[in-house]
Symmetry: C2
DNA sequence: CATCGTTGTTCCAACGATGTAAAGACCGCG
DNA sequence: CGCGGTCTTTACATCGTTGGAACAACGATG
């Protein structure tokens, strides 16, 4: 592995001159610059990032803390964050929390200034933060500390989804995904209730089903409990697409037809949702916009002395598919 | 940010003694050890990884090169690799190639010894490697250089899947996913042909459909072309679950019933495949075993002088579900 | 009591890069 | 020819850590 020293020796100049060339410093004699560039090419020099960052006081990494890569929403998002980070010459370090308090604490603990320049965190459990690097939160989970956020208007998005169901003529509309701690769940529930109220449909607490995790199995379990009701729903709003996938699966197993007997809306617009049978209507956040906004915000923040709190709202849309065909 | 120096000053000992305590060196007077530990706790000291790795000649990272995180198989695998890497105190750096030659070259170019200690690569296009760090390949894509590999027996797995279809009494069995360059595709095709031969079914080239990418859309397109045949298949073996998802979607759109009119088998056993309607029979590689084997292999390799080539074969199973119910 | 080996601690150099300051080269101008 | 000013290059210190050598303290040994 060639170092600056090797290149310098080969080019017959000092180490610093090579460093200057590498970093695009203007005042280098054309003749020397040429010799250095030849030596760089000849040795295949690549800067040692550890050393460079040690000297510069940066690490060149940002942390991305999320529940689990096997959840499609977070996998898609992670891919987009990696792409966005590349624009700023950042590498991304992914930490999985599995949605647990202990996991989130461990991940946040691990991401000090010694490891990352900044962090993007998608919290589900922690509320007390002890931050050492610029951080931006994804989603709406509430925490005690003022931190910048990026996300969509969950209340509006949820109410849009539910009003879409109502526009189909459905009146017994269930919600799957209530959660005692998650802020995002609370907001989506609020949007659900708002939509019912606006449209003059009475709120029935029996139609709101909690989900401890947001996996497919939870959606299936919730759907089964709804179908066991004396007066089952004719539509269901699921707080993410995995819950919806589970719900549709459970409905199919019980020969409940979607959308005829039961209209279903999801949230997140996972790629798979366009290909399920029936395909799933879903709230589609602009994931690319979220990733870019988060990374750009951190990029502005790093090195800045002011610690302003920004809230970025990214756009969303409703993708109407077969699961809510009329 | 506290450094060793700060801790040393606080504890009234030399920097090296603190370093010794941090690194678990035995010969430290109990009294000093106690004082150092108190000082460590008081300052909340965390080692600067850049500096440590600079000194040690390590980086503390391994690279994971894969096509795309939005492909569920790779997302799930990435999550497992991250978990496995943690056991060895490694952080994982993910590079996406999007399956292109240029992307793979760029990713491999970026992962020198200055950035990672080792790399796990899932290649689809490159064949000429220029490796600077210990590397292990996932899958069976052929390359010119001898490198260690981890993966399943693709021929056996594919033939197992196809023989399962034959055992259902199907005779016109199609294959979706042939690809001119991908080694894995060649092996799965070989397994397909082997199974036909063993079971005495004539090979019909019209039933083998290529797929340039392995996304859902490609599976749908391939399925449509198969259904346009004069004599369409009664079963189809898809080289991954995404192709199968697309195929099932296309079948549903044309009112072809799965499994009655068409049995479908996929490959990879994505989590979503258990929840589709109908649920998808799929070859299930043990992804956890793959991740662990790859990381462990690299861990043995790093620091070793011998450059032996190992080939690790991990187990797989066939998950039979509704798409091949009889 | 001199010697020795074992413990425990410190000092110094080094990993590879960059910021700073200062020295050297070179120019035009009076 | 000497001066000041602009380029251009260099030596040196430094980031935080660890390896190695040197040194100091200690009890045990003959």
């Amino acid at each position: 592995m060639a170092t600056l020293k090797d290149v310098a020796r080969l080019a017959g100049v000092s180490v610093k001159t090579v460093s200057n060339v590498v970093n695009g410093y203007s005042f280098v004699k054309p003749d020397n610059r040429r010799r250095v560039e030849e030596a760089l090419a000849a040795t295949g020099y690549r800067p040692n990032l550890g050393a460079r960052n040690l000297r510069r006081g940066r690490t060149g990494f940002i942390g991305l803390v999320l529940p689990e890569l096997s959840i499609p929403y977070f996998a898609e998002l992670a891919g987009l964050v990696i792409a966005a980070a590349q624009e700023h010459e950042w590498n991304v370090l992914i930490e999985q929390t599995f949605g647990t308090l202990a996991g989130e604490r461990a991940a946040l603990e691990a991401l000090g200034p010694h490891l990352v320049d900044a962090a993007i965190v998608s919290p589900e459990a922690v509320s007390d933060f002890q931050l050492e690097v610029p951080t931006v939160l994804l989603g709406e989970h509430e925490v005690d500390v003022p931190i910048s956020r990026v996300g969509i208007d969950n209340v509006l998005a949820a109410s849009t989804a539910v009003r879409h169901l109502i526009s189909l003529g459905r009146t017994r509309i269930a919600a799957i995904g209530a959660h005692p701690q998650r802020g995002t769940a609370a907001l989506r529930l609020e949007g659900y209730r708002t939509a019912l109220e606006v449209e003059g449909i009475e709120f029935d607490p029996a139609l709101v089903v909690p989900a401890l995790n947001y996996h497919r199995a939870d959606g299936a379990a919730a759907m089964n409990s709804l179908l066991d009701l004396e007066n089952p729903p004719d539509a269901v709003f699921c707080f993410n697409d995995l819950l919806a996938a589970g719900a549709m699966r459970a409905a199919a197993e019980r020969f409940v037809r979607v959308p005829q007997d039961l209209a279903v809306v999801g949230f997140d617009n996972n790629e798979e949702s366009a290909y399920s049978s029936p395909s799933l209507t879903s709230v589609a956040p602009d994931k690319g916009a979220i990733a870019r906004a988060a990374v750009d915000l951190l990029h502005r923040r790093v090195g800045a002395d002011a610690v302003a709190v920004e809230n970025v709202q990214t756009p969303f849309s409703l993708r109407v598919r077969e699961s809510t065909a009329s």
